[in-house]
């Protein structure tokens, strides 16, 4: 089928859905609210209702609206009315909501979130005015919560695969690369390297070449990669295919941690649908461009998210980093030229090609164009996943979007960029979310996770949990990291137990410097960061703890039990235990 007729077909189906002759119910269900908050049970409750009442209803499971505080969310589009949303829906009240609205046209106000559409309904808020919704500009998440995760026609009806079609039929590979370069898109995995430039490094050699998409996402506090794959896996697939066309690659791997079934199953299904419709595979759109994508699973290893360790894992080996050079663009997975991009980076590509690089460049700041997908968790009123324009201050993100700290408590710390990103103090609120501004202020945006911590937590307590994480996840390849992280953890634990002295701070500094100089990958190089950043802002907490007076008491109250890092050549053998 030609793309034009595929598009016509999709548009027809979409128009039928949004016509409102039959109620269209969308239930948001992802890892967060899907399984943990029972929205799967809500779906089966609705299906039972439909069968019992023999009503014609369209029901779809959609992805994440981002406002996790309101999950699970359902909405109904019916009879020319705007979409009506209800939040914190349960198995018990869902039928009542449906029954009142569909049979009597009554909008139950319990759990009502608001409406979405041009037409306003008197007395009902617009959903865009809800906390967290108003500041968003959703590009990578444009379809999240709006289309079914398992219906490629809904994606196509909303502009899907137009970018790939434009690239393959109207542009040369070099033109696609210059368009992405001109857009100013920088990698969203943490390193912020310009995506177009990275693509241009790919060797021009003929033969098998790979696009690797990194969704290892082991950072606690970051869930946006998994969120995209669960909400709209098609945007990633399209982005990967465009990356494949631009770099003249032949194959793609989506790399996900085993056990995250939602993202894995949904991505696999989306890939299958793309093949069925000729959007992947041989001679896409009748051109000589062919591209295959598959899902590759890794085991439990945080370091597997490092680009060369990722390639080892795809090859089925232990996820330990390789030394560079050679760089992936010349010698990557299976020894073939490879480019690695994060899920978020690739999810912007289709819209950049479809709307042009100037459009993308006009969003955000000069040095960081586009949006950032921030994930708020911890001590925050409105935890969630929000796509905001670059340049917004952390203060606005925490206070206006996140709703601030609950229970009248005070902000004490922010943990950004994953455990290796370290800790920030309240003075960091003025920093703007922008790669360069954050780097200048000594902060890392990383993959977008921001954990908010109030004044009940001692900085030593938090540092201990971060260091324990880094120790547990050291792959064991380089001894400065393997031994250094263990030594650092022992010292922080000692301080947390009310022992230790100022000499320990010097010792930690020395260990940290050795790790930075002697480790092969970022895990060891940045492994001291949680401690150095905490000391920069909260040395007083360390000093109080050393004298047995934890300033908040959390060091004593929260006795974390760390599991043991049992990787071979790891610490327990060295310690002689």
């Amino acid at each position: 089928m030609s793309f034009e007729s595929l598009k016509r077909d999709s548009d027809k189906r979409w128009l039928d859905l949004i016509s409102g002759t039959k109620p269209w119910i969308r239930v948001s269900s992802t890892m967060c609210c899907g399984t943990s908050l029972e929205s799967e049970a809500i779906v089966s409750e609705i299906v039972n209702y439909i069968e019992k009442n023999k009503i014609l209803i369209n029901i779809d499971t959609v992805g994440c609206h981002g406002i996790c505080y309101a999950g699970p969310i359902i909405d109904i589009l019916y009879k020319g009315q705007p979409r009506i949303f209800w939040g914190n829906v349960t198995q018990e009240n869902v039928v009542k909501i449906l029954d009142s609205y569909i049979k009597k046209g009554e909008i139950l106000t319990d759990n009502l979130l608001g409406s979405l559409g041009d037409k306003a309904i008197e007395g009902i808020k617009k959903i865009d005015d809800l906390p967290g919704m108003s500041f968003q500009n959703r590009i990578a998440l444009r379809n999240s919560g709006n289309i079914a995760f398992n219906d490629i026609f809904q994606y196509i009806a909303n502009g899907g695969f137009e970018g790939l079609h434009k690239a393959v039929t109207k542009m040369s590979s070099d033109e696609v690369i210059s368009e992405v370069k001109n857009s100013g898109l920088r990698g969203r995995g943490g390193a912020a390297f310009p995506t177009g430039l990275k693509w241009s490094f790919m060797s021009n050699s003929k033969g098998v070449k790979y696009i690797l998409c990194n969704c290892e996402e082991g950072d606690p506090g970051a869930f946006n990669d998994k969120g995209i794959l669960e909400s709209d896996p098609y945007t990633l697939i399209e982005g990967m295919a465009i990356a494949g066309y631009a770099t003249k690659s032949t194959n793609g791997y989506v790399f996900i941690r085993h056990g995250h079934d939602g993202p894995i199953d949904r991505t696999k299904e989306a890939i299958n649908q793309a093949y069925e419709n000729g959007l992947l595979g041989k001679n896409i759109f009748g051109s000589d461009f062919s591209f295959d994508i598959e899902v590759s699973l890794t085991g439990d290893s945080y370091v597997a998210g490092e680009e060369t360790a990722l390639m080892e894992s795809v090859e089925g080996k232990s996820a330990r980093p390789r030394s560079r050079p050679p760089f992936p663009a010349a010698y990557g997975v299976w020894g073939k030229p490879s480019t690695i991009n994060n899920v978020k980076s690739l999810s912007y590509i289709s819209e950049i090609i479809r709307n042009g690089s100037e459009w993308f460049k006009s969003i955000g700041t000069e040095s960081s164009s586009g949006t950032a997908i921030v994930c708020l968790s911890g001590d925050i009123l409105n935890p969630g996943m929000y796509e905001v324009e670059m340049g917004i201050s952390i203060k606005d993100v925490v206070e206006k979007i996140g709703g601030g700290i609950p229970d009248g408590r005070k902000l004490k710390m922010l943990q950004t960029g994953g455990p290796l990103g370290g800790v920030l103090g309240p003075d960091s609120l003025k920093i703007k979310i922008d790669f360069d501004e954050m780097a200048k202020a000594g902060a890392i945006l990383g993959s977008g996770g921001i954990i908010i911590i109030d004044d009940r937590t001692c900085a030593v307590d938090l540092t201990k949990s971060l260091v324990a994480f880094c120790q547990y996840e050291s792959c064991g390849k380089c001894f400065p990291c393997r031994l250094g992280m263990t030594h650092l953890l022992e010292i922080v634990e000692k301080i947390s137990k009310g022992k230790g002295n100022l000499n320990d701070l010097d010792l930690m500094n020395k260990i940290g410097k050795n790790m930075q100089a002697g480790s092969l990958c970022g895990h060891g190089q940045l492994g001291y960061n949680p401690i150095s950043s905490a000391l920069k802002h909260f040395q007083k907490d360390f000093e109080s703890c050393m004298s047995g007076n934890c300033p908040t008491g959390s060091c004593n109250e929260r006795q974390i039990v760390f599991p043991e890092n049992t990787r071979p050549s790891s610490w327990q053998t060295i310690k002689g235990n």
């Binding site: 890892m31 967060c32 943990s36 908050l37 996402e217 082991g218 950072d219 606690p220 869930f223 791997y253 085993h258 056990g259 995250h260 079934d261 598959e294 899902v295 590759s296 699973l297 890794t298 085991g299 439990d300 290893s301 945080y302 894992s313 795809v314 090859e315 089925g316 080996k317 232990s318 996820a319 330990r320 994930c375 708020l376 968790s377 911890g378 001590d379 935890p383 969630g384 996943m385 996770g449 954990i451 937590t457 938090l462 949990s465 971060l466 994480f469 547990y472 996840e473 792959c475 929260r558 006795q559 974390i560 039990v561 760390f562 599991p563 043991e564 890092n565 049992t566 990787r567 071979p568």
Partner: protein
């Protein structure tokens, strides 16, 4: 008890749901099917992949999700990542450790439970998170968790 002879393992390897077959994909398939890696699986995988048993052991001992003994009847995972930590994960840890009479993650002596501490279950907005038999449960607290555990037969 499932049949875990070499033929059964070979059958799993030949029918694995991974497009690119590797040592890691083979190990994951066996554990997904049987629940752990029996000793003979390492040898069968080595033959199947045409590598040494040492190569396979290296990979199997590296990834911390692999286990070499049958798991308990129910698998209880508690997340201790920073988001869950500040939301009270350590309280849940102590509660379950005491209930299961364990000092750290591991299996209860009656074989009923396997307790795992996970670094990130991936649903941080609903912290603290636990996972019971691979089903996530968010906004966990002691009484809710005890109720869930008591319902497991």
């Amino acid at each position: 008890m499932k049949n875990i002879n070499n033929e059964h393992i070979l059958n799993i390897l030949e029918n694995q749901d991974h497009t690119t077959v590797t040592m890691l994909s083979s190990l994951l398939s066996v554990q997904d099917d049987i629940g752990y890696l029996p000793k003979n699986a390492i040898n069968v995988i080595a033959d199947f992949m045409n590598v040494t048993t040492n190569d396979v052991w290296g990979v199997a001992s590296y990834y911390l999700n692999f286990r070499f003994e049958p798991p308990g009847k129910h698998i209880v995972e508690i997340c201790w990542g920073p988001s869950c930590h500040v939301s009270g994960a350590s309280v849940l840890q102590s509660l379950v450790l005491e209930k299961f009479k364990l000092k750290n993650q591991g299996d209860t002596s009656d074989g009923k439970f396997t307790l795992k501490f996970n670094t990130c279950l991936g649903a941080c907005p609903q912290a603290p998170m636990v996972s019971i038999n691979h089903k996530l449960s968010g906004k966990m607290n002691s009484s809710k968790l005890l109720k869930i555990l008591d319902q497991l037969k």
